[in-house]
Symmetry: C2
């Protein structure tokens, strides 16, 4: 099977057919090549597009000499399959349609299967636009990329941003992550680090010969347990922060006083802070804790006095809702869906665009709450709605 845009059918049938075809190509992370090949072939068939490929990421651009350029991006990989591949259309009344989906979209056909919301519905819309929209208001760049659902260093968009940032430059970017066709702007940043206590090992029958590193971690957990998440407004959107221990480990044996305890802390911070500002809140401004640099004593912040080892850091992205393109898109979305722009709380690839100076938002078909679920599914109308919004905005 290869991807095609059916000419002889209605726009709705063509969109659904393309979506169904995308759904039927297995593309769990690390296995995107087959799908990338098909997407590349379809895009190369379009004379109005210039196509690049790097790994399993395919980039296609118009060159119409417009004043502004908009980037539309979607990842083509999915999380692993859980008895939800191949996909299946559920007719109205099918008991596999979730109650919440049925309630919001009564009497609709629903696509059930891996990638339905995250994010082959949005991919289908973008691919449809790539093939059919030959005279858009702005120049357009389409990015279909691999390895979004796995470790950041494998991310295809990230690789292109590093090696060929010119391929994805623009005045505004839309990533099709599922948002129920609302706009989610910017994203919280995230840092992860170990807060480490040290003790002195001893046999637990003679505990007073040692120092218990796990007991010393009590003060760390107390600070976490009494932390109150803050809501922070940036460019009119409200971001909720969070500081959480996600892992804890310590001890070498059931009868040994532990000489080390590690509390792995994840700080999700609002886009009013860059990475250094976020670190200052956790460990003081001048601690010197960097990735791969081992342990450093926190000179201030929430974990002042404890030893810190950085494990991961990803910057936040400002929502950029004051950009004129964002304003016009937000107005249209609100008119079509009733949804006001929301803050994105999880970290997403909008931050990669933000890092190369391109304001970006998430706008995609399907419910974000169903992403990664075994019964991941999407009603037909979401796909049409997303196509309606983008076509109207780009015409």
């Amino acid at each position: 099977m290869s991807l095609t845009i059916k000419q002889s059918v209605t726009r709705e049938a063509a969109l659904n057919g393309l979506f169904e075809a995308l759904m039927n190509v297995y593309s769990v992370s690390d296995d995107e090549t087959a799908l990338a090949d098909e997407i590349e072939a379809l895009l190369r068939d379009q004379p109005h597009l210039t196509v690049h490929r790097m790994g399993d990421t395919v980039v296609a651009s118009t060159s119409l000499g417009r004043v502004q350029r908009v980037v539309l991006a979607g990842h083509i990989d999915t999380v692993p399959v859980i008895d939800n591949f191949p996909p299946v259309w559920l007719e109205p009344g099918d008991e596999r349609i979730r109650e919440d989906v049925e309630k919001a979209n009564p009497g609709e056909r629903v696509m059930l299967g891996r990638g339905a919301t995250d994010m082959k519905a949005s991919d289908a819309v973008m691919l449809y636009l790539a093939a059919t929209m030959k005279e858009p208001k702005y120049d357009l760049t389409y990015v279909f990329y691999d390895h979004e659902e796995v470790a950041a260093e494998k991310n295809g968009l990230g690789k292109v941003a590093q090696v060929h940032p010119d391929w994805i430059q623009g005045d505004f970017a839309i990533i099709g992550e599922p948002t129920d066709c609302g706009i989610e702007g910017g994203c919280n940043g995230t840092i992860r680090f170990d807060v480490v206590t040290h003790g002195v090992a001893a046999h637990s029958a003679r505990a007073w010969m040692g120092q218990n590193a796990i007991h010393k971690a009590a003060r760390i957990l107390n600070r976490l347990a009494t932390y109150e998440p803050e809501d922070i407004e940036v460019d009119g959107l409200t971001y909720r922060e969070g500081v959480n221990a996600t892992l804890i480990s310590g001890g070498k044996g059931t009868n040994v006083i532990p000489d080390e305890c590690r509390v792995h802390v994840n700080y999700r911070f609002a886009p009013d802070k860059d990475l250094p500002a976020a670190k200052a809140v956790m460990m003081g401004a001048d601690t010197g804790a960097e990735l791969g640099a081992g342990e450093h004593e926190a000179t201030g912040g929430m974990f002042e006095g404890f030893s810190i080892e950085m494990k991961d850091e990803s910057p936040s992205a400002r929502p950029g809702m004051d950009a004129p393109l964002a304003v016009s898109l937000a107005e249209l979305v609100q008119r079509k869906t009733g949804l006001a722009p929301q803050a994105k709380l999880g970290w997403t690839d909008v931050a990669r665009f933000s890092a190369i100076g391109v304001p970006a938002v998430n706008l995609g078909a399907g419910s974000p709450l169903l992403a990664h679920k075994a019964d991941e599914q999407i009603p037909e109308s979401q796909i049409i709605l997303l196509a309606d919004i983008l076509e109207e905005w780009l015409h």
Copy 2:
């Protein structure tokens, strides 16, 4: 090589020769058979002894019709070798002699090697007595047993106590664990259990959708961190208790709010308490937490309100220093060494004798602080001193 008692040499040389021979047979836990075979052969050569064997445990008894019977027991296994096998005699001045050993025993030869203090020196003395002491004041039973240094269920003395308790019955028992030839009486009991908190998993970007089980463990660590160990006197000896977290674990991923946290707690309790009393202090008297019975909510005690899962329990042993045999031995030891009886803080096999109604103490050659060390070593005079004490007491 087989074990022999040399007849043509001095008593000291015969003892040292036997010790050296024991040291030269590798007997890390699980590999005791060769040594057990040699010990069995030597004991079966003695017409005044009746010999039993079960697995790699060898039991030999006199049957002289004495009013009282004393049991002398020693384990024959060692912890794993760390470049300390085969053993070597160090001549005075050798730099491998530890400073503390040299200071306490200036100008002496020192045996360096795995098992030197824990506990082949005591084994050598007991084996020497078994072969040479034909008219003791009490009937004697010698127990040389396997698997002391590993999981309790493998312990050879424990197996004999279960299957053939009659083999090791007596009025008093001495275990030759290293005590610098002092008496260490009774032992603390030990229980180990998990204190468990439960939460609700969620993505750490939306932490407020979940409940953080690691944060809930703050209260557990606070109780542990503020605990003050108690000293408790039993039969004139002072036992120090201890409550320690030895392990902690929690969390399922770096970006997931943890739904469980386990704090593994070890309570070392004085012999004024039996197991139910010790549990009452930790979790209330009627919690119902038993080995293999899963989680139960603590109804009282230090961890009231938390979920408890029992992992291990070993009773304490009263020192029994009021038994007439204990009194006479303690007097002799104090005269010979200046050492008053001490409480044993770690759990030892004296509790196994205690459990079958035999008062027992630890009394053995060498420093307990050198057991398990890479430079485990013992000065010659310790072996002679232990032999002097036991021969005088048993004659």
